[in-house]
């Protein structure tokens, strides 16, 4: 149930949708799956005058490009990603990350683009604010922050909980963004500002059109883990995606990517810990050390009742295990893909 009126238009093409969004100058929002936008509208955290529905636009199938990359339509439903045989064999990490999102109904409704553009989450923010009789927080245009009373007015320490964004960043994927002046391509990690007040580097009249994932060379291995309390139908307490690239000897690491989601305002990468693995000969002890350094470097925000200490321990343990998994996959080329 939404408690205010708004207008609704169904766009026939993405270009039409962008034109409509541009005309409304921020008063309009694009509606894809609606699993994040409509609950936010119910809580009146977002109050658009117009919803531009993208439901008439059929998403295309994943395409193989000439250089071996895979281009995936941003309007693809999450269920179609987890069940696609092409994606399961070519980019199993993406299929796995889509598989752990929300519940079955959420995956049937939600889209890839919508998952990447979801709002940040906070226990204070995610509720109806009528009858609270307290001042609004910085994110709602007010003058305080309830979870972090000593926070500065120009930041919001809420957490960004997409399960798919960490996987895409570990895969070094790019997003194609359609705007009024045409399309542009940026790396997925550049989409996030790292400030909860404006978590996305996306104009009000810009839409994600597609995600392009580069091919995985020989010696590539991945690992993915979502830490949850119940194991289904919930946001993660930490989402961990890693990729390792091993040299021909099967021991030396030439490139390491670790991405931790759901613990900061955007997906976070421990740059120093990643560098410490590059060029190193990998073994269990080396990976354990990198995971311990990374959990300190990430400096997780306490969120949804999880303490910082708990999250650091969680990241340290599961990062070590996913790194070991990635190393295993990188060494057995049959399953690496």
């Amino acid at each position: 149930m939404i408690f205010f009126d708004f207008d609704y238009q169904r766009a026939q093409t993405l270009e039409d949708a962008v034109a409509l969004l541009a005309r409304l100058q921020g008063g309009a929002r694009a509606l894809a799956g609606g699993t994040d936008l409509l609950p936010s509208m119910r809580m009146e955290n977002i109050k658009p005058d117009l919803l531009v529905s993208l439901s008439a636009i059929e998403p295309g199938e994943p395409q193989m490009l000439a250089d071996g990359s895979i281009r995936i339509d941003a309007l693809s439903r999450l269920a179609s990603l987890e069940n696609s045989s092409v994606l399961r064999s070519k980019v199993p990490m993406l299929a796995q990350s889509a598989h752990v999102v929300g519940g079955n109904q959420i995956r049937q409704m939600g889209t890839l683009g919508g998952n990447l553009c979801q709002e940040i989450r906070c226990l204070y923010l995610d509720q109806k604010h009528d009858y609270q009789f307290v001042a609004p927080c910085y994110k709602r245009g007010g003058e305080c922050c309830y979870p972090f009373p000593r926070n500065r007015p120009d930041t919001c320490w809420s957490v960004y909980m997409s399960d798919i964004a960490p996987a895409l960043i570990a895969l070094d994927a790019q997003v194609e963004i359609l705007g009024e002046t045409g399309s542009r391509c940026i790396r997925v990690e550049e989409l996030y500002t790292g400030n909860g007040l404006e978590p996305l580097r996306l104009g009000h009249a810009e839409l994600l059109r597609a995600v392009v994932i580069p091919p995985s060379p020989r010696g590539f291995g991945w690992g993915f883990h979502k830490s949850t309390v119940r194991g289904g139908l919930e946001f993660g307490m930490a989402v961990i995606a890693v990729s390792l690239q091993l040299a021909q000897d099967g021991k030396t690491c030439t490139d390491a990517r670790m991405v931790i989601g759901a613990v900061r305002e955007g997906p976070a990468r421990p740059a120093a810990a990643e560098r410490s693995l590059t060029g190193a000969v990998l073994d269990e002890a080396r990976l354990a050390q990198a995971a311990a350094e990374a959990s300190k470097e990430i400096n997780p925000l306490p969120h949804h009742g999880f303490t910082k200490r708990h999250l650091m321990d969680n990241i340290r343990v599961y990062l070590r295990r996913t790194l070991a998994q990635a190393m295993e996959r990188a060494r057995s080329p049959g399953t690496a893909a």
């Binding site: 939404i2 409509l20 100058q25 439901s55 519940g103 109904q105 049937q108 409704m109 289904g232 139908l233």
Partner: protein
């Protein structure tokens, strides 16, 4: 329809926002026309306009699955689906499962296994289970858990629900009646 090429923000007037539109829905095989506002959710229209109160609205924020209906055979949450989005589409609710007085196999299995306690989650559970069995007639226990993860039940502890889905797919016996 707005012309996308001209005009500005002021076109979206209060009148345009509160305007009702006629949409047609094929509910359980029967085409129905209903007047809705853009802000009306599918579950509100099904319950309040069409009078099909089998579908329950519980959390109304997409977290519990009680409002699950099948939209074009896909299980979706009626509480976070705009009714205008469903114009011209097929919707199946829990009322469409039984054939007259004869319950569907999944409904029979829920009764046999005692998978209904307070009953509030049951319509959503039945729709999710129906969608699963249509796609996968012989699901494993694990596949059933995954398919029903979007439906919360606070009474049964889920075991009897999973047993019912196993029974409906011909993979488990009827629980013996206690003497």
């Amino acid at each position: 329809m707005l012309d996308v090429t001209k005009g500005g923000k002021d076109d979206i007037t209060v009148k345009a926002k509160s305007q009702t539109r006629l949409i047609s829905l094929c509910v359980n095989g029967e085409w129905r026309e209903v007047a809705v506002k853009p802000r009306n959710m599918l579950v509100e229209v099904i319950r309040d306009s069409l009078g099909l109160t089998g579908t329950k609205a519980s959390c109304e924020s997409g977290t519990c699955g009680a409002c699950t209906v099948l939209l074009e055979s896909r299980p979706v949450l009626g509480c976070i689906t705009l009714a205008v989005e469903c114009d011209g589409k097929r919707v199946q609710t829990v009322e469409g499962l039984a054939d007259g007085e004869k319950l569907s196999p999944i409904q029979e299995a829920f009764l046999d296994q005692g998978a209904v306690q307070c009953g509030f989650c049951t319509p959503g559970m039945l729709m999710s289970a129906t969608a699963l069995l249509e796609r996968n007639p012989k699901p494993t226990r694990q596949e059933i858990n995954k398919a029903l993860e979007g439906n919360l039940c606070r009474c049964t502890g889920y075991n009897s629900i999973v047993a019912a889905v196993l029974q409906a797919s011909g993979q488990g016996g009827v629980r013996p009646v206690m003497e």
